[in-house]
Amino acid sequence: MTTHEAPAKYDKPLPVIHPDNKPYWDSIKAHQVKMQKCSDCGTVRFPVSPVCYKCFSWNHTWVPLSGKGKVGSWIVVAQATGNPVWSKDVPYNVALVDLEEGPRVTSNILQVNNDDIYTGMPVEAIYDDVTPEVSLLKFKPAAGATRR
């Protein structure tokens, strides 16, 4: 017998959550950014890994970050040529954000006019609860993020 599930409202790709990265995604769902900090050399790392990329140690703790960062680079997609689900969002931005604690993440800047984004723009974390199970880390301009 076939069961018919109601189509999910959110039809975009979701991250693959597995034992290694679950603490990260749990933290985003709780509206906080947590990343791994090496207990031996102190490096805060991203993407998630079982070991430190600098000193190869297993030992780490999950530490809360400030959620503050700066735009390292960004693009505005004019035509979605990959998964067609993105077509309804064009033009949309994708940005590299350098977090205060060191790691760089790829994300989107919300609550901004795409023309106003610039290199070095201060941004802060916001949390997009895209499904009941998954939230995504996104960013918005920080106070004082006026154009150069």
């Binding site: 693009i75 040529t81 790829t106 995504l136």
Partner: protein, 396 residues
């Protein structure tokens, strides 16, 4: 230190392609691949039964696998290797084949590949919704992160271009030079898919924006066709039909924390890499071949996207970091210029055959077979990718 000096120990002795390259050919991948196989055998003066090794790739989205080639062509392979159809494995397919023939694991190895198109033969297969590599924790090597809408190599590489252009003040007109030059070359190559379709700066500027700064013509083609190269030892090559082309220098496909984003030169600070001042490290391919960038008579590079050329020139030291965008101007990279690049038209205008088509062109150039697009007195030719693998071939 190497226990064996690889320089000039192995050669390419035969090359071939499918009879046509095209966006949609309505032929099976196996048909295309056998056309390339037969052409390469004729070119080398070899018979099917001489061939005993195959180094192939599968995918994009469906090529031909090693077993189909064994069963359906009646070839008995005693050494097979298969990877994924990506440009990143093109030169490594040549260098591993060279090592295999030198070690006696096979006598004659086919480096043979077919590319199909999701609108062509590939339509028979499930469509991959964006690159699945983009679902990994590290995203894909292009920089893709699927859940943030960065899900095509082109969009990810437009991030590289934006970073570079802002950092070094490069312009859209400078970016145009790559596509326009390669199109000129394609118009000297009857096999090129964009042959007889000239493009000037105005055409380029008027092409539609996809992921700025990228316009349509900053992208390579998506197409169908097959390529074949036959590798053997220098000793065996002596008895064959044509002068061999030597495999004189090679370096493998690198990866690492700060050498990750496929189409970015290290130091630019893309994806999770650090931003730093890039200094060209020693390049094994040059050391092995005993040459420097100044000795390279023509350069072939993986031009999936237009700024890849700047990355290659800077990564290998053809010009200082940050100067690729100006260095390529003024006809320098055109046929007849100081460093002709992608004289076949490249992935942008001949076709995207994962770079194997450039390896075929390199062999033909070194045999002086390229007619109107021949690089005069070509003796040392390099294949170089933006992510760091390379092969140097020299005239036999």
């Amino acid at each position: 230190m190497a226990v064996f000096d690889m320089k000039n120990q192995a050669c390419v002795v035969g090359v071939g392609t499918s009879n046509k390259f095209g966006q949609v050919l309505n032929q099976s991948p196996l048909q295309l691949e056998i056309e390339a196989f037969k052409m390469a055998l004729d070119d080398a003066g070899l018979k099917r039964d001489d061939i005993d090794g195959i180094n192939t790739a599968f995918g994009a989205p469906s090529g031909v696998d090693y077993e189909e080639m064994g069963v359906q062509t009646g070839t008995n392979f005693r050494w097979c290797n298969q990877n994924v159809n990506h440009g990143r494995w093109a030169s490594t397919s040549i260098s591993t084949s060279a090592l295999v023939v030198c070690a006696g694991l096979a006598n004659y190895v086919l480096v043979i590949n077919t590319t199909t198109n999701a609108r062509g033969y590939g339509r028979h297969f499930p469509r991959e919704r964006g690159f699945s590599e983009g679902m990994r924790d590290i995203g894909s090597g292009h920089g893709l992160v699927a859940h943030h809408g960065l899900d095509t190599p082109g969009a990810a590489t437009s991030m590289v271009a934006t970073k570079y252009m802002n950092k070094y003040g490069a312009t859209a007109e400078e970016l145009a030079t790559t596509a326009i030059t390669f199109r000129k070359h394609a118009n000297l190559n009857p096999m090129a898919i964009m042959h007889d379709r000239p493009m000037n700066l105005e055409d380029y500027m008027n092409s539609r924006p996809i992921s700025p700064p990228f316009r349509l013509f900053d992208y390579c083609l998506v197409n169908e066709g097959a390529t074949c190269l036959i590798v053997t030892t220098a000793e065996r090559a002596k008895d064959l039909k044509k002068k061999p082309v030597y495999i004189s220098g090679a370096q493998g496909m690198p990866t690492g924390r700060n050498n990750y984003t496929m189409f970015a030169r290290p130091g630019l600070g893309l994806t999770f890499e650090e931003e730093f001042d890039y200094k060209v490290p020693p390049q094994l391919a040059y050391q092995m071949a005993g040459v420097t960038p100044k000795d390279i008579d023509a350069l072939y590079m993986y031009d999936s996207f237009s700024p890849n050329l700047w990355m290659v020139l800077e990564r290998y030291g053809f010009c200082p970091p940050g100067e690729g965008h100006t260095w390529v101007q003024g006809g320098r990279i055109q046929l007849g210029g100081e460093l002709p690049v992608n004289t076949n038209g490249g992935l942008m205008s001949e076709g995207h055959f994962s770079g194997y088509n450039m390896l075929v062109e390199m062999v033909r150039q070194l045999r002086n077979e390229c007619g109107p697009r021949q690089v005069k007195d070509a003796e040392v030719i390099q294949w170089a990718t933006p992510w760091g693998d390379s092969i140097i071939m020299t005239k036999g």
